[in-house]
Structure formats: structure tokens, C-alpha cells
Amino acid sequence: MTESLQAAREAPANDIESLIGREYEQGFVTDIESETLPPGLDEEVVARVSEIKREPAFMLEWRLDAYRRWREMREPNWASLAITPIDYQAISYYSAPKSKEDAPKSLDEVDPKLLETYEKLGIPLEERAVLAGVAVDAVFDSVSVATTFKDRLASEGIIFCSFSEAVQDHPELVRGYLGSVVPRSDNFFAALNSAVFTDGSFVYVPKGVRCPMELSTYFRINAANTGQFERTLIVADEGSYVSYLEGCTAPMRDENQLHAAVVELVALEGATIKYSTVQNWYPGDENGVGGIYNFVTKRGECRGARSKISWTQVETGSAITWKYPSCVLRGDDSVGEFYSVAVTHHHQQADTGTKMIHLGRNTRSNIVSKGISAGRSRNAYRGLVQVGRGASAARNYTQCDSLLMGDRCAAHTFPYMEVKNPGARVEHEATTSKIGEDQLFYCMSRGLSAEDAVSMIVNGFCKDVFNELPMEFAVEARNLLNVSLEGAIG
Amino acid sequence: MLEISDLHVAVDGDPILKGVDLSVRPGEVHAVMGPNGSGKSSLCHVLAGREGYEVTAGGVAYEGEDLLALEPDDRARRGIFLAFQYPVEIPGVNNAYFLKAAVNAVRRARGDDELDAIDFMQLMREKVKLVDMDEGLLRRPLNEGFSGGEKKRNEILQMMLLDPRLAILDETDSGLDIDALRIVADGVNALRSPDRAFVVVTHHERFLEYVVPDRVHVLYEGRIARSGGRTLARELEERGYGHLRQERVA
């Protein structure tokens, strides 16, 4: 290595300490009164959650059934993760900001401190919502606090509300679709969620309607010792279109907090759902203390012919991420997509990827996964492409790239391909690389600082995925990536 | 020998050829020139029978028969040869073995005796020398890892071995250095005969200095915009294709 390059590479390394010392920007605690159930989980707690939510009887039945199944299940252990055992009896399963007796009717009624919180988070809840044209549902700990643009959407026949409201106002829709993609006993965490989920978002887009704006939910865990178990259900009726964005943050706490969400998407004939996530839960500190355990089940079903579901995720947060947004391609000619950037630093661990289940004829899927590992982190792609006997002419293409920054991190790739149809074409390609000295040298010889050069190269590495994000989100994702990786090269 | 009349071809619904007329008699060499995207390669693919080219109107007669009704291998057996612009790389299939299989398939169809390994190798050695090709390439998988020039020589070698009646060269000259160009041209010239015809698709007038055509056609926006003698190629070299648009507008 030339001397100047050596010096240049050391320069950012000297900054590592100061950069690492930089705090998780979203790591503040909001001091508001909460109503929280005592820790522990039994049938009574499940019933209590259902009661607080004033749910109809079918929901209580559903939850109890899920709870009983969950008790029989074990945590999955096949992922490439080292997990400190979780004491499910030490978690509180319900925490809500104490507000007026009834849920807020408009933003004016929301606790100003809460609004302040969202402002700090940079969430376009009010003004920025208008500017960005984003309709926002914000979930704070366990309950949904406000949904903007409801009226505008209602005029198109679109339902966008908290899950609690949907249970009250549209029980027939909830009953018809809840659990139809992710069954209660799908897996350990999905069963737990089904038993105790407290809120989340619900979207229904009627036949032939193109949702005029991006729908968005922000999730935040605030209270200590609580888990967040939200549930999202999106139904796109025939020929409709919807784009949905999800963002997440949590305060800094020394103990690990559990987040076990379930997202179900249903696309009927000719419908398209685009689901984008920027996940920035608290990752723990540089010694691996604290951080969110993010065990999420996300699955969409292309139920009708020519339907399409596209997942895009940028995962920079959480101490542990266990997440496989998937597509069941049931309808003929349906399309599934998965675009992912997963960044791990310090002691973070991620085991993430997707499942593409081809059942219908001429179904197509495309997977692009970019993993970036730094520090002492572990980053694994795990993906399944399954082609059933009847899925003639199915096509899949998977591109899976890993970038390693530093010699103490790890990058793994575990693709599973199961093919039972001779007319299918399935291709997987993966590469592993580090930022090349020649790339760095080239950028620096054009006047860029080493850090800018790294940022530029990393962004280039992720470009295929960022291109899939809506504009505002892409900018946010890019910034997040730079913050997450500050001090990673050395 | 070849009669193309009012040929219309679409790819994925987009019209590419919009009424091509071309008549080729035995012994003749026709050059087809034209800017990028004018439909030159599409014309070649249609003649060879590649899938994905939909003939929406018009037709092609070859020796009095409907060419378009024939499968690609039938066309080859009846003497049509297309030198591909981008020959396909086929791992695992030995070049010499493939050549022998092809030569014997064509010979069988013509009622000739098949060549055994010894006779075939003798024939092949002879032809390999003519195209100045490294014999080692015969033992390698078909086109795999061949340089651009080696692939083109391999195409010409195949042409010599298959002994076609109508040879179509799709930009065989492109990407070749001057020596390789001369070798390819020599190969073509060696095959010129009163009962064999050539359609040479090229970008460069220079190739036509080596392979002197009887007729030159300019394919422009899916039609033959102009036809002429050898001098047309030179004119195009000097003036470019731009003026064709003005002519058409005028």
C-alpha cells in the first residue's frame, strides 16, 4: 500500500472513537404518563388486552387460541444468531400513553409531548405530512395515536386507520383477512403476536382505486420493559394500487426490548402493493449492551392473477433482526419482489432475507439483497425460493452481495432453492467483497476525503435497492446508512 | 434464389421491418448497409428462423419455397447459412464434435454419405488453415472463451464446412483487426461461385473493398431506402446516412 493511501486510511480510523461515541440520535425517552399492564403473560393478560381494546368476541377467541398454540411452541433456533434467552414473563404486554378517556379525534387532542416526540424523530406527522403528501399513522408503544389525511382517503373509499379502529368499524374485513396470510401458529413469534398484539395499521383499498398518496406508519417503543407487538393488515382489492411506508425508532435502554410484529398483505387480482420499511430501532451500544430484538413476520400473498407485491427494506437498527418478508405467488402471472439493504455494526446481528413461494403459473420473483457488515457484527442473508409442481414457467433471479468492513465482522449467505417444476428457471448469484483499495484510491485521487469516498462507494453498492424507495425515504435511508457506518472503515 | 417481398416484421409488437423487398440470384453478392437500429440484424434472424420475430406481412421465397414455413435446421440443410454477429458460447460441447455432427446432419439431408472421424478431421484441418485458426480451438468447448476474432473465424470455418448455397453474414467484419478482416474476406471470396449467393450485412465500406458486392442496398427505418452498385457504398461512407432522411422527406 502506498504511504499516502495508508495515511488516508488511518485518518478516518482516528475518528472512529469520536464517531462511535456519537449517540443514537433517536435515543431519547419521552416523559409522559403511561398506562401499563404489569409484566407477565397468561390467559388473563390476553383477555385483559382484548378487553381494553373493547374487542368483539371473535377477536378474544382468536387471541386465546393463538396463546394456547404459542405455549406449545419453541423459539426457532435455525438462524445464524446468538440470542440471550428472553424471559417472556418479564415483559409487559400493554403500555399506552395515558390520555383522555377516549382516543384522540384529531391532532389537536394528542398530547403535545407526544407530538414533540414525533417532531424530534423528524416524522412528517403534521406539516411535513402535508408537504410530503404522506398520510401517517403513528404507533407509540402499543397504541395508534393519530392518523392524518383520513378524510381525504375516505373520499376515495380507502380505509386507513389503526388496527383497533378497524376492529371496531370494519370487523367483517378484519375477520375475513386477519391470519389468512400469516396463520396464528405460523411460528413462535407470530403466535405470540397474535395473542397479544395491541395495535397497528389497517389499510383497505377498494377495487380499481389507485391510492393517491403514500401511506405511512411510524412505530416507536418508549416505555421500559415493554414489548411492541403491532399488527399490520393491508388488503388491495382487484386492480388497486397502494404504496406503504413504515419507519421505526426506540429509546436507548440497557436492557433488550422485544419487538414481534406481524404484517399481512393481500393483493387480489391485478392489484399492486409496495411496502417499504426503514428500520432504525435502537441497535444497542458499541459494546453490544441493550437494543431491540426485532423478530418480525412479514408476508404477502398475491392471491389474484397478475397481482404484485414488492418489499423494500433498509435495516440499520436493532440488536438482532430476524425477518423474512415473503411473497406467496398464488395467482397466475403474479410477481414478487424483495429489495433489501441490511447494515450491521458493532455487535449487531441480522439474519434476514425472503421467501418466494411460486404456486401459480408464469409467476416471477426478483430478489436483490445487499448486506454490509462492520465492527464485530454478523450479517446473514437467508432466502428460500420454492417452485411448486404446478408453477410452470416460474422465474426467479436472486442477486445477493455482501460488503465487509473490517476483519472482525462476518457475512453469511444461505440461499435455499427447492424446485419441482422442469419449466422453472431459478438463478442465484452471490458475491462477497470489501471496499477495494483501488476504488478508494481512485475516489481520493479525485479529491474526495476517505470518508466521503467510503460513503459514496457504499451508497453505490446499495443503489439498486435505494432506487426502489420512494424519494423522501431514499434520502432518509442514505443518511441513516452514513450514520450507521460512521467510523466503520479503518 | 431468394425473393423477399414486402416483408414486415415485428418484435414484441414493435414493427422493425416495414416492407423489405430484395431479390438475390445465384452467384451474386449483395451488401446490406444501414445505421444502427435500421433492422439489419433482424432481417438476418428472420432468414435464419430465430424465434421472437413475428412476420406480420409479406414473405420470403427460397428456391421457390416458402422459407418462413421451414424450421431453422431445415433451412440449414437446404443450404442457408447465417454467420452470427454474436455466436453463442456453449460450454461442454466440443467444437470439433459439434462441427462433425452438423456437417453430417446436412450431408445426410442432401443424400451424401456421412463423414467418419478420420475423413472429417482431414477436411477440417484443410479448412482451418484457410481461416488461419488455431487448431487448439477445435478441442475447446464451442465458442467458450474465444476472443471476438476467434469466434468470427469459427463462423467462417463452419460456413466452409457446411458448404451453403446462400450465406448470410451478419456484421462478420465488425470488431476485427485488419489482418483478421482480410482472412474473413478471403474465406468468403474462396467460396464465391456461380451457384452460390451471399448477403453481406456490414457497417463498413472497407469490408466491401475486399468482398466486392454486385449490389449494395441501404436499409433505413425498416425499408430498403436505396439500392445501387459498388459506388453507393462509397457514397455512404462520405455522406453518412443522414441525407437519407432528407431524401425521404423531400
Binding site: 422453472a424 | 430465430r50 433451412r75 452438423a102 477445435l138 457446411l162
Partner: protein, 467 residues
């Protein structure tokens, strides 16, 4: 169920171990007993084990396989060529050992002329009887992981082949090992192959497994290959057992600095075949090339699990596995590459390609990369699909009929990996086997396509290379 099966093998062991070769030698007894305990503790794998997710050995567990009770390879009648085969045509080995149900058949084994000085090709039973300490260090463990079948093999270790090439010796001609499974019924063999190549030694070993007779058989071999510094070993595994044979083999190889291993595996036969191939690159700049071809048809189930560990800097691994799946055949490929923390500048590539030739065939493939070092070049790719339509068109435009073009491309698909394997005699044998096995190759141009191809390739060679 499981306990009954384990109890069966425990009983078999109690009855047999005292009369196995090497019995009474302290370390041999110890290794056998420990291996049996390990096997019983572990039990047969089930599809719940991630490594056995796609291969169910339940049917095998249900049968009570026994050691051959007819007295082994020396017994009368076993020396018939019909039973033991004549060896691979054209291989011209330096030495050949033939085993019947895991025991040496002396009458069919021998050396062709004098072996170079210091080269030893002997049966394991002979070594255990005469000089057991020579092999002690190589038989004291069964490699990484909790491999039940390797443990079962060592519990019954007794015969097999020991091949030693001393430092600096280059063995020009291959060594041929033929393992014949002949089933009256439910017979099992646990042969061991040791290939020990000293510093800068070179050798080629062909390990050929065949089956004869209609009875159910289990072949459970274990091969250990030790490649010392700058030595080079080519290992060819050829599996051609009949439809009544289950095969659960393991290869465990270690390569030292600058050493090179070529691991070549071809499966054409067998009812259920599960092969584990583990290669550990233990020295700086060690390299391995893993080539494999599997052909599952009828109701065959074929599972190759490979693992390469890059433990030291500068290692190279290059892996190409291809599968042809026909009939109700099912293929499984699991390739794992682990680059350890200190193995900077490793270069690992891995590819697995599969062709499904029938409606009912199935493939499950899982290439895996686990990287713990940052300055490495690693890639893998896997495909499942059909023939390249552009290639079909190209061939047809040269006059080949569609069926012939498809046959030729299918053949080429296999040939692509066979060509990487070297050993022309093995290759020609496999080519002939392929043509006979797959209906998809029925239209291969020239009925003697495979021979013809090899012939054309030879003829095409310049004169000076032909003589």
C-alpha cells in the same frame, strides 16, 4: 424405532468386533468403542436436522443391515470376474485393490509391475495385522461435525485400502480401488480408504463403487485424504451401484501449505446416495478443486454435501457441481464454504447447476457462504433451469435437428464438468454410462457419441501431442 435400530447395531457390534481385523490392538478397540458410543448417542439423523432437511434415512433405519457373514473377500466364488468386474477400461492402474462387501479379494487385487520405491498400496486389514501404529493417527477421529454414518463406519473399521506415497514421489499411473457390494440381503460394508501423500508427492486414486445382486445393501465407506506440503492428489469417486444399494459415504481431506487436492465425484447409480465431502485447507496457499456430477433418475435420491474450510491465508477453492434430474429422481446439493478469521486473501468460488428433465424430478440446492475475514474473494451461484434456447437455435441453424441439438446440449451440460476432472478413462466410462442412462440423450448425434467425441478431441490434437 430409533432405539431398536441402535440396539441392532450395538448387538451386531458386540458379536463382531472381537473378530474384526486389528481386534486386540488397544487403540483399535478404543476407536471402535468410542465411535459406537458416538453413533448411539447421536442416533440416525432425521429431516429435523438442518443438514438432513432434504434426505430422509428412515427407510434405511428400518432395515437391519448385517456384516457379510460369508467369510469376506477370500471366500470361494467371490473371485469371479462377473462379481468383481474387470476394472475400468483403459485406466491402466499401477495397482488395483478389489473389495467385496468391504473385504479385500486378494485374487482380484495386485500391482502391475514394480511400484516406485516407498509407495505402498495395501489392505487396511493387512496393516492392522502387521503394523497398526502406522495408521493410528489417521483413524483416531472422523473429522468435524456429528456425522452419524462416519461414526458407524469407525465402529466397524476393519478393512479397506491404505495408500502411502512417500515424500517427493510422483506416481504416474492411477491406483484403482473397486468396492463391490453384493447383496444376498441386507448386507452392509464399512470400508476405509486412507490416502497419505507426503511432501511434494503426487498421486491419482480412483475409488469405484459398484453393486451386484438384487438384495438390499448399505455401503458406508469413509475416505481420509492427507495432502502434505506441496503434494498433489487427484481423487476420483465413481458411484455406480444398483437400485438396491443405499450409499452413505464420507470423505474427509486435509491439505497443507501449497498442497493441492482435486476431488472429483460422479454419481450414476444407487437407490439413495448421500455423500459428505469435507475439505480443510490447513496451510498457507493450499488449494482444492471440487468437481461433481450427479444423475438422479427413476426413484433415485442423491444428496451431496460439501464443505470447504479456509483456515489459513491465501487458500483457493473452486467448486463446480452439476446435476441432471430425470424420472422421479430427486437431487440435493448443499455446498458450504467457510472462510475463517485468519484466512485472508482466500479465493473461493462455488457453482451448482441443475437441469430438470422430467415433470416429476426435483432439486433442492443450497450453496452457502460463511465469511469471517474481509479481504477475500468469494462468490457462489446456483441455477435450476432448462437448456439455453439461444444455443438450441444456434445449433439448429447449423443443421442439427431440434432433438439432436437438445441431446447435444444436455450432454454438453455434463461434459462441461467432466472435462474439469481429467482422467480420460474415467471420463469416457462416465460418458458411456450417461448415454445409456438418460433418454434425453437418445438423439445424441452419432450413436457412439461419447466415444466419437473423445476420438474427435484426440484427433484434433496437434501431431506432436498424439504420439
Amino acid at each position: 424405532m430409533t432405539s431398536a435400530a441402535l440396539e441392532h447395531y450395538r448387538r451386531e457390534w458386540s458379536a463382531a468386533h472381537a473378530s474384526l481385523p486389528g481386534a486386540g490392538v488397544g487403540w483399535v478397540d478404543r476407536v471402535r468403542r468410542q465411535a459406537l458410543d458416538r453413533f448411539c448417542e447421536r442416533g440416525f439423523p432425521t429431516p429435523r436436522d438442518e443438514d438432513w432437511k432434504y434426505t430422509n434415512v428412515r427407510p434405511l433405519e428400518r432395515r437391519a443391515f448385517r456384516l457379510d457373514s460369508t467369510g469376506g473377500g477370500g471366500a470361494a466364488g467371490h473371485a469371479e470376474p462377473a462379481v468383481c468386474g474387470e476394472g475400468l477400461p483403459g485406466l491402466a492402474p499401477a495397482a488395483r485393490l478389489v473389495f467385496l462387501n468391504g473385504r479385500l479379494v486378494p485374487a482380484r487385487s495386485g500391482e502391475a509391475g514394480e511400484l516406485p520405491e516407498g509407495v505402498r498400496v495395501e489392505s487396511l486389514a493387512h496393516v492392522l495385522a502387521s503394523n497398526p501404529e502406522r495408521v493410528e493417527s489417521h483413524l483416531s477421529d472422523t473429522g468435524g461435525g456429528d456425522n452419524a454414518f462416519a461414526a458407524l463406519n469407525h465402529a466397524f473399521l476393519g478393512d479397506g485400502a491404505v495408500i502411502e506415497i512417500p515424500r517427493g514421489v510422483r506416481l504416474e499411473r492411477p491406483i484403482e480401488l473397486a468396492f463391490v457390494a453384493r447383496g444376498e440381503s441386507d448386507v452392509v460394508s464399512h470400508p476405509i480408504v486412507l490416502v497419505l501423500a507426503g511432501e511434494e508427492a503426487e498421486a491419482t486414486v480412483v475409488e469405484h463403487h459398484l453393486g451386484a445382486g438384487a438384495g438390499a445393501k448399505l455401503a458406508n465407506p469413509f475416505t481420509r485424504i492427507v495432502v502434505e506440503r506441496r503434494a498433489s492428489v487427484e481423487h476420483h469417486l465413481l458411484l455406480e451401484e444398483d437400485d438396491a444399494t443405499w450409499h452413505t459415504g464420507n470423505i474427509d481431506a486435509r491439505v497443507s501449505s501449497g498442497g493441492r487436492l482435486g476431488s472429483n465425484a460422479v454419481q450414476l447409480g444407487g437407490r439413495l446416495v448421500r455423500y459428505g465431502i469435507d475439505v480443510s485447507l490447513d496451510g498457507v496457499g493450499a488449494s482444492v478443486a471440487l468437481n461433481g456430477l450427479y444423475v438422479a433418475r427413476g426413484r433415485q435420491h442423491v444428496d451431496f454435501h460439501t464443505r470447504v474450510d479456509h483456515r489459513e491465508p491465501g487458500g483457493t477453492s473452486e467448486q463446480v457441481y452439476k446435476g441432471l434430474l430425470d424420472g422421479h429422481g430427486r437431487g440435493v446439493f448443499n455446498g458450504r464454504v467457510v472462510v475463517h478469521r485468519d484466512a485472508q486473501h482466500s479465493d473461493a468460488s462455488q457453482s451448482n447447476h441443475n437441469l430438470l428433465l422430467s415433470e416429476n424430478a426435483e432439486i433442492d440446492t443450497k450453496p452457502q457462504l460463511e465469511i469471517f475475514a474481509d479481504d477475500v474473494k468469494c462468490s457462489h451461484g446456483a441455477t435450476v433451469g432448462q437448456l439455453d434456447e439461444r444455443a438450441v437455435h444456434y445449433m439448429r441453424s447449423r443443421g442439427l435437428g431440434e432433438e439432436a441439438a437438445r441431446a447435444l446440449l444436455t450432454f454438453g451440460f455434463a461434459e462441461d464438468v467432466l472435462a474439469r476432472m481429467g482422467a480420460p478413462a474415467v471420463r469416457r466410462h462416465v460418458e458411456r454410462g450417461l448415454v445409456g442412462a438418460l433418454p434425453a440423450l437418445a438423439d445424441l448425434p452419432a450413436p457412439d457419441g461419447a466415444e466419437d467425441l473423445a476420438g474427435a478431441a484426440r484427433l484434433a490434437a496437434p501431431r506432436d501431442q498424439r504420439s
